[in-house]
């Protein structure tokens, strides 16, 4: 671990400066490959079951596009904040980076709040986990995504604390970088959920 050899000056692209950092980034991309398959399977199950609504309300009556659209915009903006954070990382500006990261998780929390509100509404309308195959696969797919967002918020929150304590080093830089990739990945999954679940649900 050559982290400690670098007295003061951070190298260019500090996240890729050490073999550990490069391993972490490569390993994380591979992990996201696995995550893609995971969500792909959840999407396939949802697509196979989405018309089997049983006695529950149909998707076209259930989904409220304005709320979902707002949630989409919040999450997309959050992803943008995370891009700015990585740019700040590359310019080795620690304070702005922390600022962008805080903005990322605040927006992430906003998204989660909207999702929880949305789910409680659905439950009031008789759309619960045991209602139908549609409802089960809906909650599993969208809930898995929500859980990923929640984990990301906790993770990036923890990283902010670590940066404040340890500063930006070749050990902490890969962590920030990897969490940003994760956050973008979640965002991409949401774009698919917005299209496949909500828009297609509205159309029929």
């Amino acid at each position: 671990m050559s982290a400690h050899d670098l007295n003061g000056a951070l190298p260019h692209e500090p996240e890729k400066a050490t073999l550990e950092g490069r391993n972490k980034i490569l390993g994380f991309w591979l992990f996201l490959g696995a995550e893609t398959v995971l969500f792909g399977t959840l999407f396939s199950s949802y697509l196979a079951l989405r018309h089997n609504i049983g006695d529950g309300p149909p998707a076209s009556e259930l989904f409220k596009l304005p709320t979902v659209f707002a949630a989409t915009m919040i999450l997309l903006t959050s992803s943008l904040m995370s891009v700015f954070a990585v740019q700040a990382l590359h310019q080795k500006k620690v304070k702005p980076m922390i600022g962008w990261l805080v903005a990322t998780i605040v927006l992430g929390l906003g998204f989660l709040g909207l999702e929880i509100y949305e789910f409680t509404e659905y439950i009031h309308e008789g759309h619960k986990m045991p209602t139908s195959a549609f409802s089960s696969s809906f909650y599993t797919l969208v809930g898995f995504h929500g859980a990923h967002v929640a984990f990301g918020v906790l993770w990036i929150g923890l990283l902010i604390l670590q940066i404040m304590k340890k500063g930006l080093t070749v050990v902490t830089a890969p962590k920030i970088y990897v969490s940003a990739i994760y956050w973008h990945f979640i965002d991409v999954v949401w774009v698919f959920i917005f299209t496949v679940v909500y828009l297609m649900g509205k159309v029929g």
């Binding site: 671990m1 050559s2 982290a3 400690h4 050899d5 073999l19 490069r22 391993n23 490569l26 390993g27 591979l30 992990f31 490959g33 696995a34 995550e35 398959v37 995971l38 399977t41 959840l42 199950s45 196979a48 079951l49 089997n52 609504i53 049983g54 986990m129 045991p130 209602t131 139908s132 195959a133 549609f134 409802s135 089960s136 696969s137 909650y139 599993t140 923890l158 990283l159 670590q162 340890k166 050990v171 962590k175």
Partner: protein, 619 residues
């Protein structure tokens, strides 16, 4: 990396005895742990097989009863696939891959330990079902609705779902780890097309794991939600689909077959080439064939579902795709034969298993092509013909491969060579036992004996062949006992294995001591061609050309966290199963807190100085 090392020497607690094994992040020790755990589960699964065969020795037998038979059948399949075969492969991956690519460890030593412990506790959870009196009994494929809450109300299938889920985490971590290791950690000069065939096989296998296991994760989650939270994925009365489970299971399950057999292909390539004392014939075509098999392996899953009723177009396409796999597989078979051709073959035990593999596996492949013909499959489906087929592939292929690899790499793992005379006795009893058990099952299937039944009526022509099959199973059992005796005897021998105990080793692992020191390579070698070590030997060199000067070596610190994290998941598993929310949350919390600790406290590792290297710090 080493220049300033002394200025930052961090004192690290080094454990001894049991604590050493619980905290180790050394790939060689993790390999041994995988081997021990895998072998234990192999014995459990083998015992289950013997009980199954005793029950079937005569018609209308009542040795175990129908319920127990279903449990034995389910647990035998699940244990052998997930808890015996895969861990023994992981044992060899761990023991050999970093050595073959000239690395000091895997890319993520901590994750490597975590992978082992999650597998171990997942397997333990599954097997505790025997003591809890609720054993999974819906078959290793756990088809719904049989495995659903309506027809399987007890906790049996819950053990299957949660045990495999936890063990699956470990497998996925292993897949990511070995892919990253092979991409990033190869020694200077080792290009992809200079990698040993075993490394190639593991690289492709790891890719299969990364892209296939998440599908199983989702299937198990869906089944768990159906069973525990009244979800309706597979509940047809509420709009669910039972065929969905079949798809999800086999989209995972077919690549899983290749996850099992590709590493065996890799082992056989090494063993056949070493003991023929020839370069592997058609190396590049071997690599290409491996990739092609893996690629096609993802698009043949529905051949397990020909009788489900997907229609003639789907059946036709999957039929053709399945037959296509025979082409790259045939390339491999002929390459092995051409490697043997004209070689000066040494018939060691490893070579016997390697050479025995070729005709046995080919037979399994031929019945595979028979099964791939969809109309014919309507006849074979759910008969003993299928049982014979997949045991020829898995035991005749994979297990022969594992035994070849064990005898071959045992001196590298333990510093002692297994007894060859006992080894040959073991080979012949096991090999003959295997063919006795399963050859007749082809014909049992063709004359109509269904699989998965706990007994059968007399005078249908089944009786004699079932007796033969059971005798064969006992022979395999005796063979396994011979192997155990061999292991015990060998462990009392002196640790005297040479660096290159077969004298014909070709790849980098044979250029370093047996067992290697904990840092593997004192100096990372420079690789100058395929069969790197053989090339140096042929030029009269006694050791590899180093690619770096001697210096202090950085090592990762041991950690108890992987063990504790897995215990957390294990506890959470029970919490979910028995509706104890505090246990479920508590268990998950233990795991998350460990993750937090791992993130907050950086691992600085420690350095092994040159003086310590002179003393030889042995694993």
């Amino acid at each position: 990396m080493t220049a300033h090392a002394h200025a930052h020497a961090h004192p690290v607690k080094r454990y001894r005895g049991l604590m050493d094994w619980l905290t180790t992040v050394d790939h060689k020790k993790i390999g041994i742990l995988y081997l021990i755990a895998g072998a234990l589960f192999f014995l459990v699964g083998g015992l289950e097989a013997v009980l199954i065969r005793i029950q079937l020795i005569k018609p209308m037998n009542n040795f175990v009863g129908a319920d127990t038979f279903n449990e034995l059948l389910t647990m035998h399949g699940t244990t052998m696939i997930f808890l015996a075969a895969m861990p023994m492969l992981f044992a060899m991956m761990n023991a050999v891959i970093p050595l073959q690519i000239g690395a000091r460890d895997v890319a993520f030593p901590f994750l490597n330990a975590l992978g082992f412990w999650t597998f171990f506790f997942g397997g333990l959870l599954l097997n505790i079902s025997w003591f809890a009196g609720n054993v999974p009994d819906a078959g290793w494929t756990s088809y719904v609705p049989l495995a659903g809450p309506t027809y399987n109300a007890g906790h049996g299938v819950d053990y299957y779902v949660l045990g495999l889920q936890i063990a699956g985490i470990g497998t996925l971590l292993g897949g990511i780890n070995f892919m990253a290791t092979i991409i990033n950690m190869r020694a200077p000069g080792m290009s992809f097309m200079r990698m040993p065939m075993f490394t190639w096989a593991i690289f492709i296998t790891s890719a299969l794991i990364v892209f296939a296991f998440p599908v199983l994760t989702v299937g198990l989650v869906a089944l768990m939600f159906d069973r525990l939270f009244q979800a309706n994925f597979f509940e047809t009365t509420s709009g669910g689909s039972t065929v969905l489970w079949e798809h999800v299971f086999w989209v995972f399950g077919h690549p899983e077959v290749y996850i099992l057999i590709l590493p065996a292909f890799g082992i056989i390539s090494e063993v056949v080439s070493t003991f023929s004392r020839k370069r592997l014939f058609g190396y590049s075509s071997m690599v290409f064939a491996t990739i092609l098999i893996a690629f096609l392996g993802f698009m043949v899953w529905a051949h397990h579902m020909f009788t489900t009723g997907l229609g003639p177009v789907a059946n036709g396409l999957f039929s053709i795709a399945t037959m296509l796999i025979a082409v790259p597989t045939g390339v491999k078979i002929f390459n092995w034969l051409f490697t043997l051709w004209g070689g000066s073959i040494k018939f060691t035990t490893a070579a016997l298993f390697g050479i025995g593999f070729i005709p046995t596996f080919t037979m399994g492949g031929v019945t595979g092509v028979m099964l791939a013909a969809a109309p014919a499959d309507y006849q074979y489906h759910d008969t003993y013909f299928v049982v014979a087929h997949f045991h020829y592939v898995i035991v005749g292929g994979l297990i022969n491969g594992i035994f070849a690899g064990l005898f071959y790499w045992w001196p590298k793992m333990f510093g002692r060579t297994l007894n060859e005379t006992l080894g040959k006795w073991f080979f012949w009893t096991f090999y003959i036992g295997f063919h006795l058990t399963f050859f007749v099952q082809h014909f049992l299937g063709l004359i109509g004996m269904p699989r998965r039944v706990w007994t059968y009526l007399p005078n249908q022509g089944f009786d004699t062949m079932n007796v033969v099959s059971t005798i064969g199973a006992f022979l395999m059992g005796i063979g396994t006992i011979l192997l155990l005796i061999n292991v015990v005897i060998t462990s009392f021998k002196k640790k005297d294995a040479a660096n290159d105990p077969w004298e014909d080793g070709r790849s980098l692992e044979w250029s370093i001591p047996s067992p290697p020191p904990e840092y593997n390579f004192k100096q990372i070698p420079l690789v100058r061609g395929y069969d790197a070590w053989w090339k140096e030997k042929m030029e009269g060199k006694k050791e590899m050309t180093p690619s770096e000067p001697v210096g202090p070596i950085h090592m990762p610190s041991p950690s108890i966290l992987p063990f504790v994290m897995s215990v957390g998941l294990f506890i959470a598993g029970f919490g979910f199963m028995y509706d104890k929310l505090y246990l479920a949350i508590g268990g998950i919390a233990v795991t998350l807190i460990c993750m937090l600790l791992r993130s907050v406290f950086d691992d600085h590792g420690f350095h092994i100085s040159e003086e310590e290297q002179e003393k030889g710090v042995h694993a």
